[in-house]
Symmetry: C2
Subunit: 248 residues, 2 copies
């Protein structure tokens, strides 16, 4: 086990940070690490907005409903960005690129590019002794985040990332058994899979019962079914289309 | 600079591998690393299919048109997966979950979850002395890949990942200037940005002219505009909808 594997295997999300800002040098190292991620056909289809303005942080924290969007060492918002290549083209060429930029294929490209960069940032930060928490909660009001950050056409905020020096030591959260997420050659969709997940549900029940804080009675399957029985953020669909992405 | 940052900063895609298979232990370490990535609301919305069957590798290589899809130490296909939670529910609850599972919001969740896991796998593999190459090329015929891997409803192949011991030492490819991808507080969409990209274009021209193999005259902007002026993989849109994802 090398240091990098140690860092990766010891990940836990941190939601309480010490009152210490990241230095400019730390931020730049993390962004440079993000930039080294693989990118589809070299497009680098993302923009990272770093939030230093306390007023903007407060507004974003209101969208998310989470105090650690405001109280942290630094805050990034990762945006999928197909505007950058568009603005390099003449209006004639822009017209030629429109169908491509608006396709679901390129929406996948931009979303994956952005996520790969973000995960590099996370591993870099954690290797530097920092903790992080992804913030899908910014999509609670994606249109408002878009306006706060003044994002142009073809750019959408995907998620935030709060970083800082950890001020808590949460337990490591169990993962599904390896052979539930890892299949060989073809997708295994059978009774055996379900029975492994049921075993995991029982294991998780023990975890929730015995952990130090926020104990409860719950399983993975029940939790997921509960969450996915509610529709949330259904406005994201139209918002993305209005930004001229994922619309054809 | 710690070891992990070294690994991240030294990334280059590897497209030529030695004729040596990864061990089961190596594969499991990499998959476990992937699983430790953050996941939206704990859903772990991905399945990784590892390809050991040479016939399946050959078929996937034909889809991609790339020999290294076949000739490598191991091959993963990363799939966005909202089937797993669905199959844990009764048919009554499945009906309640349908709108959520089919939404663009949850398509983003599954795509991001999958990409975060994949990038963890990449960093883990590289820290172990292996090289990797992402394979968006599997989407050249996404429906065929889907059939080869026998993916059920609510599961789509997003990209492949070829891994192995490097048998080439490609140069590190330049990245856009930091302040082009990193903005503070709001999106910078101005003449200064364009001028920085134009500078990068000139820098890249030199890189393409002077590198050891595959020299050419090209800039980033020209390359991107050329690529995005062609529509490719427009069938992905309907394919994803037919799999009951991203359709409402």
């Amino acid at each position: 086990m090398n240091n990098t594997l140690d860092t990766i295997m010891n990940h836990r999300s941190i939601r309480k940070f010490k009152d210490e800002k990241l230095t400019k040098e730390q931020i730049h190292t993390i962004v440079k690490a993000a930039q080294q991620a693989s990118t589809s056909s070299y497009i680098m289809a993302y923009t990272i907005v770093g939030i230093t303005d306390e007023d903007i942080k407060m507004k974003l924290s209101e969208v998310s409903g989470q105090p650690y969007v405001k109280d942290n060492g630094h805050l990034f918002v990762f945006c999928a960005d197909l505007n950058r290549i568009n603005q390099q083209a003449t209006s004639e060429l822009q017209e030629k690129m429109q169908a491509s930029i608006e396709s679901t294929e390129k929406f996948i490209v931009a979303t994956v590019d952005t996520a790969l960069a973000a995960q590099n940032a996370v591993i870099a930060a954690e290797s530097m002794g920092l903790g992080v928490c992804y913030l899908g909660s910014l999509r609670n009001n994606i249109s408002r985040v878009n306006d706060i950050l003044e994002l142009p056409e073809h750019v959408i905020p995907l998620f935030g990332l709060a970083l800082g020096y950890p001020d808590e030591q949460p337990e490591k959260k169990p993962r599904l058994p390896l052979d539930v997420v890892y299949h060989e050659n073809t997708y295994a969709n059978d009774e055996q899979q379900r029975s492994k997940i049921n075993d995991f549900d029982q294991q998780l029940k023990e975890y929730y019962k015995n952990r130090k804080t926020n104990t409860r009675i719950d399983t993975w399957s029940e939790q997921m079914i509960r969450k996915y029985s509610k529709t949330i953020r259904m406005d994201v669909t139209q918002f993305v289309k209005d930004k001229k992405l994922n619309k054809r």
